[in-house]
Symmetry: C2
């Protein structure tokens, strides 16, 4: 069933532009995180599109990715019409990404509602997600503002942004709709603990719903430079062809996130409170939350263990044989092997930087 | 200078028959430990033969190895006459190995003295080894018995056999020559500590010297079945050709070590006390003693580290990138990766057994 409310068509925008060095050596420039097989053997991207399908069909799902990986994305999504995959000539962060889609839709479907979500999150409970998105879309259609999904925090995570929730102004698919009082950037440990204890703070999920009109209006108001750039891009597309216009104008668009550039500044922002299981799989350590776990930890690919515990062991080719380790990440590909304790998994970025400086870009 | 004493020729026998699963995944059936590049980039075998050369020329050095790896051994030792590499159809332990060489030499050089040593030990001080071997050979020639090099123990090692040394009966190249009172199999921790404290115990090095006549006599006396098998082998070699005779008879020879089968039982056994640095490189952990060590530990091949300590990091192909670990062994080849704490390095054997049982012999 394709959702519509009073004839308003619902579209999904899947943001699949990330490059992601945090999953090196499995992730590479040519294979970013969203293409990694972390969803029961399928890519996170394919799982995201499939998860949406009962609410938004592939025909109404748009995937925005980068030119470099557009062929790989197409191969992952055989059911998606080829024209629904939009390739950015260069990454300009999420405001440009959602703006570009909104400006395009303003021509063909100006009355549409868009749900926007990242390609690389794991949400096991598909029905809960779809119900929440349907509620958010209905709220966006009814109220005309910007709607975000607010995740109930389960730990004092310092790696996410938070939302301070205000009064409940309604309900959406059985979930409370709050006024958003403010956005908080990644907090300190103390602040994060305070937020989780307080009860009226939520994780900013990066999943949104809005009408084409509302997001266009907000971008025009808070990011006029982006709006002007998108106007030029669309005008040039009429004369040059879209590909050439993109190549010329897209790389000049302001590079800013939709959270920071638009959501934080807008006044009509609503949050639909959700509490389904969710992970942004932020590092190798985060795989523990996502993959099927045994006593040795989680494994993917050809792995043999003796007396291991709490580890993340991944092979993309060679046999990985691990004996007597605890809370260790081991990832092996044909040309590179990573070993790092789980609690230092974030340092992969540092390592990638070191390899880049050493001229080892062939491995990145 | 080729050593000789009153015209007695000196030969070296390098035992290179080991298969060695303890260095998996770098060691394989087709590349046993003695062929691994643990001697400053060269194989342990090549380093052993080169170390001997100033005392025993390649022309008088015999290398005994297994049929499976004879080509690889030949490639490692281009200066050795091809006929000096003897291939066993199957491994029958060291008594058969030294017996075979002795029976062959009894025909061509019955008056020779042999020094016998493993191919896979590391002894950085070549002059000290050569001087000790020359002394042992002179002792063997003068006394007619069996001579072993007795290493001064530097720690309470439970992985080696020990010798209890008796009275000093002479000197060899400035080193004491002891009567050997008894051989002790691998001791318990308590016993090993007692031995090291007592002062009159030494590590059994597995390096020997004897005349052809003495070792033949001892094998005839203590291993008559082996002596009979070798008699048959040599008789058949006259009619069948050596290769066919070997294939037929060698695999039936008793499988026993020269230490256990001969040395422990013989009455005229002398030990030359030595104290040069020595390692049998018994496991991945043992590489720490042998390779050039940095703060991160030892590395071989393409390895990048961030904040590592005391580790053994080896690549035979893929980049190995290791962050924040301590006392860990990581070994990567194109088709298999091993990760194990240094203090559990012995468990590689268990792992190899598990892989064999799982039908993964292609990786062994």
């Amino acid at each position: 069933m394709t959702w519509s409310r009073d004839g308003v068509p619902l579209y999904a925008v899947v943001m699949a532009g990330g490059t992601g060095t945090r999953f090196w050596p499995l992730s590479r420039r040519s294979r970013p995180k969203q293409l990694l097989p972390f969803a029961e053997g399928r890519s996170l991207l394919a799982a995201t599109v499939d998860r949406l399908a009962p609410l938004v069909t592939p025909e109404r799902t748009l995937v925005v990715t980068s030119e470099d990986v557009v062929e790989a994305v197409r191969a992952e999504l055989p059911r998606l019409p080829a024209g629904n995959i939009l390739a950015e000539p260069s990454g300009r962060n999420t405001a440009a990404c959602v703006g570009w889609v909104a400006w395009r839709m303003a021509r063909s479907k100006p009355d549409a509602v868009m749900v926007v979500l990242p390609a690389d999150h794991v949400i096991p409970d598909g029905p809960a997600l779809r119900s929440a998105l349907a509620g958010a879309a209905a709220t966006a259609a009814a109220r005309g503002g910007l709607v975000t999904l607010a995740l109930r925090p389960t730990r004092a995570e310092t790696g996410f942004g938070y939302l301070e929730l205000g009064e409940v102004v309604g309900a959406a698919a059985g979930r409370p709709v709050h006024v958003v009082k403010r956005f908080v950037e990644k907090p300190t440990r103390e602040l994060a603990e305070e937020f989780v204890g307080a009860g009226n703070y939520a994780w900013n999920s990066g999943m949104f719903a809005w009408t084409v009109e509302a997001i266009q209006g907000a971008i025009r108001e808070f990011l006029p430079e982006l709006a002007g750039g998108l106007d030029e891009l669309m005008a040039a597309a009429d004369t040059l062809g879209e590909k050439e216009a993109l190549r010329r104008h897209y790389p000049t668009l302001p590079k800013i996130s939709v959270d920071f550039g638009v959501m934080e500044k807008a006044t009509s922002v609503w949050a639909v409170g959700v509490d389904f299981a969710w992970s942004d799989v932020g590092s190798w350590a985060g795989l523990s939350e996502v993959l099927q776990s045994g006593t040795h930890g989680v494994t993917l690919g050809d792995v043999v263990t003796l007396d291991c515990a709490g580890s993340v062991l991944v092979s993309d080719g060679p046999l990985v044989a691990v004996v007597g380790v605890r809370d260790l990440v081991v990832v092996a590909t044909r040309d590179a092997v990573l070993v790092v304790p789980k609690d230092q998994a974030q340092r992969v970025k540092e390592l990638v930087e070191k390899l880049h400086e050493a001229g080892r870009d062939d491995l990145l």
